[in-house]
């Protein structure tokens, strides 16, 4: 005589460890760094990972990729003040940083083939809290190695790349940026120990202070500001 047992509730299944929920798997890193953007924090369950490599793909530079990182870099600087910048595509200017961060930023100019070596030294030293790295291409093996070293040294690496067809890279977080009229669209297509997210648009702050008044455009009027010659300007 077999007795038909009553169907178990979901809670009971979970207690018996027959149902496993991915989001609270325990594998998820507990430590997070608030990104400074509410929407992004919500999407990432708290913020950027505390350590590891965050891969940021963008079609071109200058879409607000650094503005996305600055709040996190500022809060990371409170843990370990030294931060490093590697492989800048142009002259990096200190203007967006806080004075304390200007003081403790290392700018590293390395030849292309020495960049990964320099990055590994930065990580192995364990004295940088974050490294921003403009990559010119990385192989899966290099990415794996980088990820392991970054986790071990508790350093957060932001790797910014111009988008290219890429095979899967074993990194903490991968996202693609797309600039839109209304802000920056983030497509987080790979997260470690969590599901990818559907793309969403982040309202980025403007690169200039809000206190500045927008010039008012006159409908149909001559809105061109003429540039005065030196002779016109009486000194």
């Amino acid at each position: 005589m077999s007795s038909v047992s009553a169907p178990l509730s979901l809670q009971q299944l979970k207690e018996k460890q027959l149902v496993w929920s991915g989001r609270h798997s325990g594998l998820r890193q507990q430590a997070c760094i608030p990104s400074g953007y509410r929407l992004l924090d919500q999407a990432l369950d708290g913020g950027w990972p505390r350590s590891g490599v965050v891969d940021i793909e963008t079609k071109c530079f200058g879409v607000g990729e650094l503005r996305l990182l600055l709040p996190a870099l500022e809060s990371l600087a409170q843990m370990r003040p030294l931060q490093a910048w590697l492989g800048m595509p142009a002259r990096l200017a200190p203007f967006p940083f806080r004075p304390a961060n200007i003081e403790r930023s290392l700018l590293i100019h390395a030849e292309d083939k020495k960049q990964h070596w320099a990055l590994e030294q930065l990580l192995a030293s364990r004295c940088c809290s974050a490294v921003v790295f403009w990559s010119k291409g990385i192989s899966p093996a290099q990415a794996k190695r980088l990820q392991v070293v970054a986790l071990e040294s508790q350093t957060l690496v932001f790797m910014i790349r111009t988008a290219e067809a890429q095979i899967s890279l074993p990194l903490s977080l991968r996202m693609r940026l797309e600039a839109m009229e209304e802000g920056l669209q983030l497509n987080i297509f790979k997260r470690q120990h969590a599901w990818p997210l559907s793309p969403f648009v982040l309202d980025m702050p403007l690169p200039y202070p809000k206190s500045m008044v927008e010039p008012e455009l006159i409908e149909g009027g001559d809105n061109i500001l003429r540039f005065p010659s030196l002779s016109e300007m009486s000194l």
Binding site: F61, G64, P94, P96, H109, C127, L206, P209, L230
Partner: protein
């Protein structure tokens, strides 16, 4: 005061033999002077019948094969300096008085060591490690100690010498005049006067009149020498002071062609450096490595660290990075490591609660500089200039900031990435903010008069563009 004189009669021979016999096995070996007379010989040469003072031709007939070296006084002086350096750990006042003799001031050291055997034990261990023939004597006069030491047999029992120190005068008196360090002509003159032994000289010097006569006939130098010999007048000494500069060299027994294989001998040099620095509680920030090539030329490799270091391991890892970037001009036969500018040790406190132990930022910077080059690691320097491209610069990460890096940029619009030079604007843009007029530096040649705008192009990049006086448009930066 009591002086211990240690004479090394075969200093050059012993030093050369120690290096070369390890490779070639022992053969008869002699050192000749400028007149081609034998002045130093090893045991094998002596067994063949070679004696000091022999002509080279005679010696060559007696021993075959025979290795001949020419005497070099500078080499012996250099070796004596090294010996004094090694002994300096155990004895305070050391002086070089000739190319073969070191004198040690004993009486003050006895207070430290308690008794002579303990002191001699410490010294003799150092000397034995160099495998040198040594002759010693103790006397209250520096010159007497040296002359007795030169006349005694090798490796004599120093403790019994010390116990018999009061009979130094009689030991001195037993010497013949030929054993004194006086010019050959004077020796001959003394001989013609019928003086052969030091005893006779000593007696003469007791009589004021005879002493005066001696001075008139043979010169005041002899009188001064005798006064110093008998301890009437102190002998002026320049005490050895350890050099404020570390130099150590190594000769390789084969040529090294790749810079990476230099690390092994380099490790030994760095070990020596560490010992040197430890005994002085100093650190160094800069090392200079000379790679010696076969034709006598040298290739220099400088290495510096962001913070003063002592530990040989830390230096080795820095040098390793540095050497990886070096291309050897020619095969290397020897290495010389030099370090000047010794810095005081500063106590560094380690944060007890620092969770992740890592390198100090200065160490990181020196590693990166060693691997990438001095100028590759930089940091910001903010300048007071209205022209945006001159408002900041980069400088070497190690330099102290000339002025505080304060920039209040919150009120102005500045991009985070600047193009190296403004590029002509070649695409359609939409202005979203501006203008901001920057007109400055009219007192220089680089006048700028620009209207800056924030703009967005079709790729949705945020650009910093400007229009100059000629109504030309340029892109100057990116808001990343």
């Amino acid at each position: 005061m009591l002086w211990l004189a240690l004479t090394f009669p075969q200093l050059q021979l012993d030093s050369l033999a120690a290096v070369e016999e390890a490779k070639e096995g022992s053969i008869a070996r002699v050192i000749i002077d400028k007149q081609q007379k034998i002045i130093q010989k090893n045991v094998l040469a002596a067994d063949s019948g070679i004696q000091a003072g022999m002509k080279l031709g005679t010696a060559a007939a007696l021993a075959d094969p025979l290795t001949v070296h020419v005497y070099e006084e500078s080499f012996e002086l250099q070796r004596l300096q090294e010996l004094a350096q090694a002994c300096y750990e155990h004895s305070a006042d050391i002086a070089l008085i000739s190319s073969d003799t070191l004198v040690f001031e004993v009486s003050s050291m006895l207070q430290l060591y308690g008794d002579f055997p303990t002191y001699w034990q410490a010294l003799s261990e150092v000397i034995a490690s160099q495998s040198l023939t040594v002759q010693g004597a103790i006397a209250p006069s520096v010159l007497a100690a040296r002359e007795i030491a030169r006349s005694t047999g090798p490796n004599s029992n120093m403790t019994s010498q010390f116990e018999g120190r009061d009979s130094w005068l009689s030991a001195l008196k037993r010497l013949s005049i030929a054993q004194l360090d006086i010019p050959f002509a004077t020796q001959k003159q003394l001989e013609h006067l019928g003086l052969k032994r030091v005893e006779q000289l000593h007696e003469l010097c007791q009589h004021t009149q005879a002493r005066k006569e001696l001075g008139v006939r043979l010169g005041r130098e002899l009188l001064l020498y005798l006064d110093r010999l008998f301890g009437e007048v102190a002998y002026p000494l320049n005490y050895f002071r350890p050099p404020e500069q570390f130099t150590c060299s190594i000769l390789l027994d084969h040529e090294i062609q790749s810079s990476v294989s230099l690390l092994f001998p380099l490790k030994r040099l760095l070990q020596a450096l560490q010992t040197y620095l430890q005994s002085r509680t100093k650190r160094v920030q800069k090392l200079c490595l000379s790679l010696q090539q076969r034709d006598g030329r040298e290739q220099r490799v400088d290495s510096s660290s962001a913070e003063p270091l002592r530990d040989s391991q830390s230096w080795l890892s820095l040098m390793q990075l540095r050497l990886e970037r070096v291309e050897l001009e020619a095969p290397v036969l020897g290495l010389r490591l030099e370090a000047s500018d010794l810095l005081e040790e500063t106590q560094q406190t380690q944060d007890l609660f620092e969770p992740v132990a890592g390198l100090a930022p200065e160490q990181l910077v020196s590693r990166l500089q060693a691997g990438l080059g001095e100028s590759s690691v930089r940091r910001f320097q903010v300048q007071e200039d209205h022209r945006p491209e001159y408002a900041f610069s980069e400088q070497c990460a190690l330099k102290q900031a000339e002025k505080p890096n304060v920039c209040d940029c919150s009120l102005s619009v500045r991009p985070s990435l600047f193009l190296d030079s403004p590029q002509p604007l070649l695409e359609n843009i939409q202005l979203i903010h501006g203008p901001e007029r920057i007109q400055s530096a009219w007192w220089t040649d680089q006048v700028i008069c620009r209207d800056y705008f924030v703009a967005r192009n079709l790729d949705q990049q945020t650009l910093w563009v400007f229009r100059d006086e000629q109504q030309q448009w340029y892109v100057h930066g990116l808001f990343a």
